[in-house]
Symmetry: C2
Subunit: 109 residues, 2 copies
DNA sequence: TCATCATATGAACACTTGCTCATATGTTCA
DNA sequence: TGAACATATGAGCAAGTGTTCATATGATGA
């Protein structure tokens, strides 16, 4: 007969967050899981930047950057302000920096 | 004429990690960007578990779990030990917990 | 109001990804 | 050695994702 895990399962189940929370967590990290978005967030690390500057920095299309900024904004990872024709993007809070830093730590060990 | 970003670009470029590092960072977070893997890591949060227990907990195929454990192991996020026929998996370091915790913080604000 | 710059958006396509199914590997015990 | 259990693996497929291309929206200044 297959072995039994009743004890462990009951214990772990009790500590498990709701499915919805875990789904949201996955969705959040999915956003960090793309090099272009990582680069954008890194670029905004110290200062705000306009869309075309980011595009020039990453040597990518304005459209591609704009699409990604939309994703980042929807996840509350970046915020923006308009100044004339130009729109400046910045990181919306410090979690971005901490998350990336933790990831970096894991890599460099 | 389009506006100029020379100053900002030079500044940001200097602080930008190598492309390879950013690629690795993206690849790492990509692994956190899946609900099944998040659940597995959460399940291992406190204690090691064998494959079939995880499968039972998540109500998923043994094969599906095994495939994901392989991904997690390749990224050094989990480690395993054999005990007879059973193989127990555990988190390989504390970064997993910190990364998930940071993500959780971002969500609950 | 018209031309130009800055950004956003939608459709389409190539590429990736996670699961399933079938099967292989590895271990134990009789 | 063979049967049963635990896990791993490979191929295949449906669903998701990031970029491009064309075009739309919005703002400025002449």
């Amino acid at each position: 007969m297959p072995h039994n895990h009743e004890a462990i399962l009951n214990h772990v189940k009790a500590d498990m967050p709701a499915d919805e929370v875990l789904q949201d967590l996955g969705d959040l990290f999915k956003i960090f899981g793309d090099t272009t978005r990582i680069k954008i967030m890194y670029a905004l690390h110290e200062d705000e930047m306009c869309v075309c500057a980011i595009a020039e920095l990453l040597n990518m299309t304005q459209s591609a950057i704009s699409h990604q900024l939309k994703v980042l904004k929807a996840a509350n990872l970046v915020a923006s302000r308009r100044e004339g024709k130009t729109i400046y993007y910045r990181l919306s809070d410090d979690h971005v920096k901490s998350i990336i830093a933790q990831g970096y730590d894991h890599l460099t060990e």
